[in-house]
């Protein structure tokens, strides 16, 4: 049977459970004899802990114990994806608003919650540092004790890391015009609708940890390290997350829950409140200073950046985000000289975590906005200045990195065409356009196992997390296509390190490409074994047989692969197992440790109307075009693309964490923080894919899940300026900020 699963709008695997309420997220798991945990935190950003009195709390009926730093090993176990600097629980000081100082474990949720209010913490509030300016003040307190820092030139400062990238000699370039501005992007939170959840339970001489995490294998390593267990004794079960957006990539409170479960000798569960989730993960706020030099015809001659990422109290991934995003500051434009300085700056705030786009939206906001300013100053059309400087297919935009891996001008022209660029708009309306480009993964390792069962059904085993992007469906489509079975005969097993082989992580829009290639490789392994079966059954040399997409081609016949499978397995039955692997090797000499596996390239254009009285921005028409290589599942591509576009609109128009004068977050909640609802959608939203089947994944696919939020903010801000003349360089484009900018203009 020839099947055609590639490019089909296959229905989501797991979809039925999602519409019936049967999908089990971490908080839905029925685990017997489970204790409930509740965190205790201080209502301040930075404090010295003087004493913690748990005696009253421990008298609450049902309370089993209260965990503090005193109950953990000495020295305090610390962990983190890049820097092992985050304590399991606060020890001596708290360094961000919401950092837990104690946790109550009780028989019931009610008892845990009541007792948590009765833990008495004596503390001395200390001045908190939560701005770039304060952190860089030479007199500023050191946010991290140098003893937990890696030795280096910045150990005695609040700069965690500083990078210098670039090429050419910016200072020697001769420009007709130089434009220089600073663009600010506020801290934002992920706000997955599923708050983070964790359960841990002793299991023989090991432990099981359930988590809403995106990277189960990284969690396994972290728990094994802090508990001093071999990897083989740590089983991580990661049910499909209820949204991730990067916020569930790395371990956070799982080590604490693991220690509590080991102490209790019973399962312990901690489901965060939405407020705690807001305090647990956030995106780096940035200040990007751009200088752009151009010829009078719009040709870029240099780009010069100082990028300051305000990260949190612990390193987490703040360093990598600042480095990887800054590396692509100059975007997809041919520029003879580029200089980039990138700093990751510590502060008494929630540790910066990966967030869809991985820092690229912040640098793109600055670059694309500045390019608009240059175009307007030179009297050049904003679309033309982009097309004029855009690299061609195969041309390097960053020397030594992967060259442009798509016909990017095609993407830009499509967006311009769909927004009707160049046609007039009524007064009070404006049009904007911007380009975003993001490196895919720079290294990667994914394994997959595929089992071809005796009845010609298929099981795919993968360590990827399906957090809504639809990875299960993609892998099932690949297996169905390669093995010639219908999609409903394929099961995809994920999220259990005792069952699925290793996968590095689910991030950077990598899974369809890297894990997709691993699944494809496993299917090819099965095809080789089927070929050997066919040779034996039909007494033909293997070299004379090919197996392709479910069909076995013999010299004088074609057979469905399933016929060969059944005949080959014979009366005993059994199965054929295929193993697959996909790697993206590191390049130690590359500034990022590896070249881009692919690029996510997007062009976004929009028409807006601005209320002259209130500054309120209404997006009338929003067009996003992504170079996806090939849409393996067009329904899912559209869902991810529109979803990212709307998330990007939220970031552009409304989202920001508000800190008070002591560094406490003041908008810890859905209404106070504000994300797009069904009433905040553009009048029209159109998502388009450019498909030239030129990606490194199966059948030519590229990663797609971040593209359409990379350049939303500068496209909208450009449209606001076009409509009103008002220039906003500090997001969000809230009515207040737009109104002020309109007043300043006049």
């Amino acid at each position: 049977m020839k099947v055609d699963n590639i490019g089909a709008p296959a229905q989501r695997l797991g979809g039925i459970d999602r519409v019936t309420g049967h999908q089990r997220y971490v908080a839905d798991l029925p685990i017997a004899d489970t204790l409930h945990a509740k965190l205790v935190a201080l209502d301040c950003a930075h404090a010295r802990i003087l004493s913690i009195d748990t005696s009253v709390a421990e008298k609450v009926p049902g309370v089993v114990f209260v965990m503090t730093a005193d109950d953990l090993p000495t020295p305090m176990p610390r962990f983190g994806p890049q820097y092992q600097d985050r304590p399991v629980i606060a020890e001596g000081t708290t360094n961000y608003h919401g950092e837990p100082v104690a946790a109550v474990v009780a028989e019931t949720k009610d008892a845990a919650e009541e007792a948590a209010t009765l833990v008495k913490v004596e503390f001395e509030e200390l001045p908190a540092i939560f701005t770039v300016e304060a952190a860089l003040d030479p007199a500023a307190e050191l946010i991290q004790d140098p003893s937990i820092r890696r030795p280096g030139p910045f150990t005695e400062t609040n700069i965690l890391t500083e990078y210098h990238f670039g090429w050419g000699d910016v200072d020697a370039m001769d420009a007709d015009m130089v434009v220089e501005h600073t663009y600010a992007w506020p801290m934002q939170t992920h706000f997955a609708i599923e708050p983070h959840g964790y359960i841990a339970a002793p299991d023989g001489d090991g432990i099981i940890v359930w988590s809403s995490i995106q990277h189960p294998y990284q969690l396994q390593k972290t728990v094994a390290t802090v508990l001093g267990m071999p990897l083989s004794k740590v089983r991580v079960i990661a049910p499909d997350p209820g949204g991730g957006f990067g916020g569930k990539q790395h371990p956070k409170l799982e080590p604490l829950v693991a220690f509590m479960a080991m102490r209790a000798g019973r399962p312990v569960r901690l489901i965060l409140s939405l407020e705690e989730a807001f305090q647990g993960v956030r995106r780096a706020g940035t200040e990007v200073k751009v200088r752009m030099g151009l010829k009078s015809d719009g040709t870029l001659v240099f780009q010069d950046y100082v990028n300051r990422f305000l990260i949190g109290a612990y390193g987490d991934t703040g360093d990598r985000i600042s480095a990887k995003a800054s590396f692509l500051s100059a975007g997809p434009y041919r520029t003879p000289a580029v200089r980039i300085v990138s700093q990751a700056i510590l502060s008494h705030t929630t540790p910066t975590h990966p967030y869809r786009g991985f820092g690229i939206p912040q640098v793109t906001w600055a670059r694309e906005s500045c390019l608009d300013e240059a175009a307007i100053a030179l009297g050049i059309d904003r679309l033309e200045i982009r097309l004029h400087n855009l690299v061609r297919y195969g041309e390097e935009h960053v020397p030594g990195d992967t060259p442009a891996d798509g016909d990017w001008a095609q993407t830009v022209r499509k967006a311009a065409e769909e927004i009707h660029w160049g046609t007039p708009l009524p007064p009070g309306q404006g049009r904007g356009i911007a380009i975003g480009v993001k490196s895919g993964p720079t290294t990667g390792l994914s394994y997959a196992t595929v089992r071809f069962l005796a009845d010609a059904s298929v099981m795919v085993f993968s360590g990827t997390s399906d957090m809504g992007q639809g990875a299960r469906t993609i892998f099932a489509q690949i297996a169905a296509e390669e093995l010639g079975v219908s999609l409903d005969r394929v099961a995809v097993v994920m999220g259990d390190t005792a069952v699925v082989p290793y996968d590095q992580q689910t991030s950077a829009s990598r899974s369809s490409v890297l894990m997709g290639n691993a699944v494809l490789d496993a299917c090819r392994d099965i095809q080789r074994k089927i070929r050997a079966m066919a040779a034996r059954l039909h007494d033909v040399e293997e070299a004379e047989i090919t197996v392709d997409r479910g069909v076995v081609h013999l010299p004088d016949a074609e057979l469905p692969i399933v016929d060969v499978l059944k005949a080959g397995l014979g009366r005993m039955g059994g199965e054929v197992v295929g193993n697959g692997e996909a790697r993206k090797e590191a390049f130690p000499d590359h500034p990022l440790g590896g070249t881009a596996l692919f690029f996510e390239f997007n062009c976004t254009a929009c028409d807006v109307a601005v209320d002259p009285e209130t500054g309120e921005v209404t997006i009338l028409r929003h067009v996003t075009v992504g170079d996806v290589g090939l849409a393996l599942n067009p329904v899912q591509v559209t869902g991810q693309d529109e979803g990212a576009a709307i998330m990007g609109i939220g970031h552009a128009l409304m989202e920001h964490l508000i800190l008070d004068d002591k560094g406490r977050t003041r908008n810890l909640g859905a209404i106070d923080y504000r994300i797009p609802t069904s009433l905040d959608l553009p009048g029209e939203l159109h998502s388009f894919s450019i498909e030239n089947a030129d990606g490194p994944g199966p059948y030519g696919i590229k990663g797609i899940s971040e593209g359409s939020l990379l350049c939303t903010a500068p496209a909208v801000a450009g449209a606001v300026r076009d409509a009103t003349g008002a220039v906003v360089r500090r997001l969000p484009l809230s009515p207040e900020n737009v109104w002020r900018a309109m007043k300043e203009k006049t």
Binding site: D17, T20, G21, G242, G643
Partner: protein, 158 residues
């Protein structure tokens, strides 16, 4: 110990009589006491819509209602939409349109949509966006959700 009170309510067509803690919300009782975990918990202050259920046909945030207040009520949760293992038209439409991505908000979206179609069998897109404005979706599958409701409503007219 929490003070307990006996309540009787119809949950997904089945009459149940049981004791609930007087301080527990309907959301807690549905999830923790009855084991109907399809109704989701997120903000617990009535701002996100993930816990939406129908009380006597009216969509309510079950996190804002004490379980004792539902005494005598007819409660419909997402688990009650399908009958005899067959998806209802709305659920089927959500699948076909790709409306469920991560899926966490979907039970609440379905319940609000179900209530909308009960009172307005042929809603416009604006009606849908208004009726579902209290159901946040961070995957932002709003267009797929409204398309599913529209297609389901059209089907209702057949």
């Amino acid at each position: 110990m929490n003070e307990m009170m006996q309540v009787e309510m119809t949950v997904n067509g089945r009459v149940r009589s049981f004791d609930v803690a007087v301080n527990h919300t309907l959301l807690e009782v549905l999830r923790d006491d009855i084991g109907l975990t399809g109704t989701k918990e997120c903000c617990v202050v009535g701002e996100c819509g993930a816990c939406t259920v129908l009380i006597d046909g009216v969509p309510m945030n079950s996190c804002l209602m004490l379980a004792v207040e539902a005494d005598g009520a007819d409660v419909l949760t997402v688990e009650g939409l399908a009958t005899d293992g067959h998806l209802d038209r709305l659920q089927q439409a959500f699948l076909e349109q790709g409306a469920a991505q991560c899926g966490f908000c979907i039970p609440g979206q379905l319940m609000s949509a179900h209530a909308l179609l009960q009172r307005n069998p042929h809603p416009t897109i604006d009606d849908i966006n208004e009726a579902l404005a209290g159901n946040l979706c961070r995957c932002a599958g709003y267009q797929q959700i409204s398309a599913a409701i529209m297609s389901s409503a059209e089907g209702a007219g057949r």
